[in-house]
Symmetry: C2
Subunit: 105 residues, 2 copies
Amino acid sequence: MYQQLSDYLKILADPSRLEILDLLSCDELCACDLLAHFHFSQPTLSHHMKVLARYQLVQSRKNGTKTMYRLNKERLEEITSQLSSIGAATSPCVCDQLEKGTCET
Amino acid sequence: MYQQLSDYLKILADPSRLEILDLLSCDELCACDLLAHFHFSQPTLSHHMKVLARYQLVQSRKNGTKTMYRLNKERLEEITSQLSSIGAATSPCVCDQLEKGTCET
DNA sequence: ATTATATATAGATTATCATCTATATATATA
DNA sequence: TATATATATAGATGATAATCTATATATAAT
């Protein structure tokens, strides 16, 4: 569970990928439009999009030679919601399983 | 801006650190109580706590030989809030700066 | 059919980081 | 003061990942 959330956060923990998602928050865009916005190479963008798609943060469709990408807002919300719950004292807290004072309080 | 959020997410993108924060969401705990819950070494915990403290995700105070840690919920909420805004079509979206159709639509 | 455009894949490189062992420091107790 | 407990630091190592160049693939247009 922590592993899974951590995996998602790893995907998001890259400034370029965050910016890609932000760009897609307005509109569906093709890879070439995204590429024009950045300074890295085309294979690098392709790699980022593959990673984002594998974790379903974006969805893609083919349109001629172009690949159109759109943000999967639900998935992003899912992640932020899980992250919020980490800080909440309720539910997924494992404090009860924790034996406090083992090192003497 | 994306760089800064990405830095925070990098800190959170570790299952052990997520679990540490979750443990601290209930209560203030000392390092030794936390350590008892994990399988990694004491220096590894010390390293994690240092990282979390550097980014102000936890706050620490000395109590005798012990170091007590507590979760900084405000900081965590700040991060989740920033992450949410990535998916929002409004405000910090850079779509306007993006010249669409440079690769011909 | 050939050429141009858009994207994907392969393989290499460099940097970062989670973890370890060994050791140091600091406090409390006997 | 000597010893035990709690934590921190130093340095090394192995794994992961962001990026690159070179190349392949697939579609559109001439």
